[in-house]
Each structure stands twice: as C-alpha cells, then as structure tokens.
C-alpha cells in the first residue's frame, strides 16, 4: 500500500491577505468587494449575510462582546470568520478599513463607496440592506426592516491626534477601553441602525468601521510587543466561534495583515 503524505505549508510561507484602506481601493478591487457582499446577501442560509449580521445582534442570542475584556478579541474573531465566508464567494476579497480620522472622512463622513446608491448600474450592496424577518419580529413594533444612517457632523469624527495618543498607551486594558470608547462614538455618530447593537452589523459599513478598530489593535501590538492581553483572558472562548483569545493575538496566523494599498500580480502558473 502506498501512503501519500501531504506536507502542510508553513504558515509563514502562505501568502497573507492584506486588508486595505477603503479610500485606496482600485476599481477592480471595489468590484470584487461589492461582488462578495452581493453574493453573500443572496444566500439565505448560515453562509450568508443575514446570518453573519445576526451573529452580532438580533435575532437572539446576541453574541457580541461589548464593554467586556473580550471586546477586541471577539470582534477580531467575528471579522475573521465573516471574511472567510466572503472568500468562499470571492477568493481574493478582503475586508477594507475606513479611516475615520482622515481629512477626507472629516469632510465627507462615510466612504463614498459605501454611500452611493448604485455602482456599475446595479444597487450598491455596500450602501445597506434589508434586516431579516426574525430580527424584525424580535425587535417588536417599530423595528427597522432596512438599514438606515443619520450621520453627525463629519468634523466631529475622531482625530489622528486622538489615535496617536491612544496608541501610546502601554497597558492593554487601558488601551482597549479607550479604543472601545472611540468605537462607541463612531457608532453613535453614524446614527440609524449603526447606532444600536441589535441592528448595527446589518449595515456593511459596520465591517469597515470594525476593520479600522482591529487595525488599530494591530498597530498597538506592533508598538508594544511586550505588552499583552492579561494571562487570565487567554484561554477564554469566543462563542460562537471555535477560537480562543490567545488564538486571535497573531493576525498573521489568521492569514492577514493591514496595508494602505496592496496589489498582487501572478507571474507564471
């Protein structure tokens, strides 16, 4: 009998995916992103958009971790698993990050690519979407059937100076609490469905916002390589995901990193 062994590729040699600044996405990259979200929104089972949006809020149970020590780790896991579900539909897609500190954001607010109603002659899936029937039912009278936004003054978004100060903090829990406070502020700034936990993740901008939060954690980790998550949190599970806090710490082990811009050209087979 012949036994064939398959050598696993070491993680360090596997090509990483790079999450990019949404303001720097090129036409084909944006088209891929829209295609992935559109395809996800067509799936009504637990591979699709409505399922993933509901993991965060309604329908019950609300799995998200807010105002707890698991805030950053849980949302990193959430983005990771959701991004994998998109890659099953568009293998090269990565979630982009919305830099709400940029001078452009302080003029226009939400990224244009997430605001325009149509793209390429089709409804823009990044602009919003419907909310599933069970989430509406559990929300009771007045529950929204579609996402909405009601942004505040763009000039009141967080500033680069605030983030610079934040990244200088040396203690993880201090950093996390202050980052979550900034995160909360952007949700409230957004208004509409983004402003309330039960429906926030039904808006695609949620994931661009959280990519920015996750990126800031990554930047903080690079600046403070010896400061870490408290040891008593490392073995904590992050339901519904089969991953622990410790397993979220190295983004490269999860197959991604952050870049302002990234393009890839295939040379040969």
């Amino acid at each position: 009998m012949t036994v064939t062994t398959v050598q696993a590729q070491p993680v360090s040699q596997a090509p990483l995916s790079y999450r990019k600044n949404v303001a720097m996405l090129r036409g084909p990259q944006l088209a891929t992103l829209r295609s992935a979200f559109h395809a996800s929104m067509q799936l009504s089972d637990d591979r699709g958009w409505q399922y993933w949006a509901g993991v965060h809020g309604l329908p019950l149970p609300m799995y998200c971790q807010h105002h707890t020590p698991l805030f950053l780790a849980w949302h990193r896991a959430y983005l990771y698993y959701f991004e994998l579900s998109l890659k099953e539909l568009e293998p090269t897609v990565t979630l982009p990050w919305w830099d709400w500190t940029s001078s452009w954001s302080h003029q226009v607010g939400f990224p244009v690519s997430y605001s325009v109603a149509e793209a390429g002659g089709e409804p823009n899936p990044l602009a919003g979407g419907p909310i599933n029937a069970l989430a509406q039912q559990q929300g009771g009278a007045g529950a929204p059937d579609h996402t909405s936004r009601n942004p505040d003054d763009p000039a009141s978004l967080p500033t680069a100076a605030e983030i610079s100060q934040l990244l200088g903090l040396g203690d993880f829990l201090d950093f996390q609490q202050q980052l979550e406070s900034i995160h909360d502020g952007v949700h409230v700034w957004s208004g509409g469905t983004m402003a309330e936990i039960p429906y926030a993740a039904y808006d695609p901008i949620f994931f661009a916002h959280h990519c920015m939060i996750d990126r800031l954690w990554r930047l903080w980790q690079l600046q403070h390589p010896t400061a870490g998550v408290p040891a008593d949190l490392l073995a904590e599970a992050l339901p519904p995901f089969n991953i622990t806090v410790a397993q979220t710490l190295n983004v490269n082990a999860l197959g991604y990193d952050y870049a302002s811009f990234s393009s890839r050209t295939q040379i040969g087979g």
Binding site: H67, T68, H187, I197
Partner: protein
C-alpha cells in the same frame, strides 16, 4: 437628565505634577438606547445645546453603544448573579459598565489655580436612531459613582 455634582480635587502641600487625570463614571446602564455623555466643568446650566468648547467648560465626551432595549421575554434582561461558585458562564451582558474620560489639561488648570473642587455636569444626549428618539435622554444616564484618578 443631566447630573451635576461637586468633585474634590487633589489638595495638600505636596501636589505632584500630573501626567494624567481620569474622570471615571461607574454604574452606567447600557440596556437602552445608545447615548453620548458630554462633560462640563463649572457650568451647572449646561444642556444638550451648549456649545462644545472650553469657554463653556466642556472638557470631553464619551459615548455608550448600547443594546436598544430588551428583545426577550420577561426577565431576559434582568442582570442575573452567578447561580453557584461553579458558574463558569460569563457575566450577564447588561452588568452596568464604567467609562472614563481623560481630563488631564482641565484638572491641571484647576490645580494651577489652587482650586479645591469643581462642579461637574454630565449631559446625556440621545441621537435619533433606528430604536431611539432624542427625548429618551431624559432617563438614559444612571451613575452610581464618579471618581477622579490622577497619576504622576
């Protein structure tokens, strides 16, 4: 509804140089609509329309991204204690939270003027959202304690 209280400042012959001062609000509810808390010093009449500038005593704000109400059956959102010492479940998601606001420059300024206390006003603001109206600001802010922590 806004809350106003007197906050004691560091006093004594030896008052070391501050590197940071945090104003911490304990016992914040996050079961209802999301809200902002705008904090003013020496302006007990501050309200939701008060401009956010130093001249009005504004020292900063924080937001609470909240749960928007209860969507379960009766008792679903009652904060439950552990049922036994072996209860390994995480705390109930609606356990009241603490939030802090770093107000170093404002505290440094007050200490530089040898002030011994300051009047603090915290003004809740609810921006209209999918689940909330602005008038819900009237009862959204609950606070058990506020503490000032300073660091050298």
């Amino acid at each position: 509804m806004a809350i106003t209280f007197e906050l004691e400042l560091p006093a004594g012959d030896v008052r070391p140089e501050l590197s940071r001062a945090d104003l911490t609000f304990y016992g914040l509810d996050h079961s209802g609509p999301s809200y902002q808390v705008r904090v003013f010093f020496s302006n007990p009449n501050a309200g939701p329309d008060t401009p956010l500038n130093a001249g009005e005593g504004f020292v900063g704000m924080f937001a609470v991204f909240a749960h928007g109400g209860c969507f379960g059956e009766e008792g679903h959102c009652d904060v439950r204690p552990p049922v036994s010492p072996f209860d390994r479940r995480p705390p109930h998601p609606l356990v009241p939270i603490a939030r802090y606001l770093t107000v170093t420059d404002a505290i440094r300024d007050l200490m530089g003027r040898d002030e011994r206390s300051v009047t603090v006003t915290a003004v809740p603001v609810v921006r209209p959202s999918a689940l909330a109206t602005a008038d819900q600001a009237a009862d959204v802010l609950t606070v058990d304690q506020v503490a000032l922590h300073t660091f050298e």
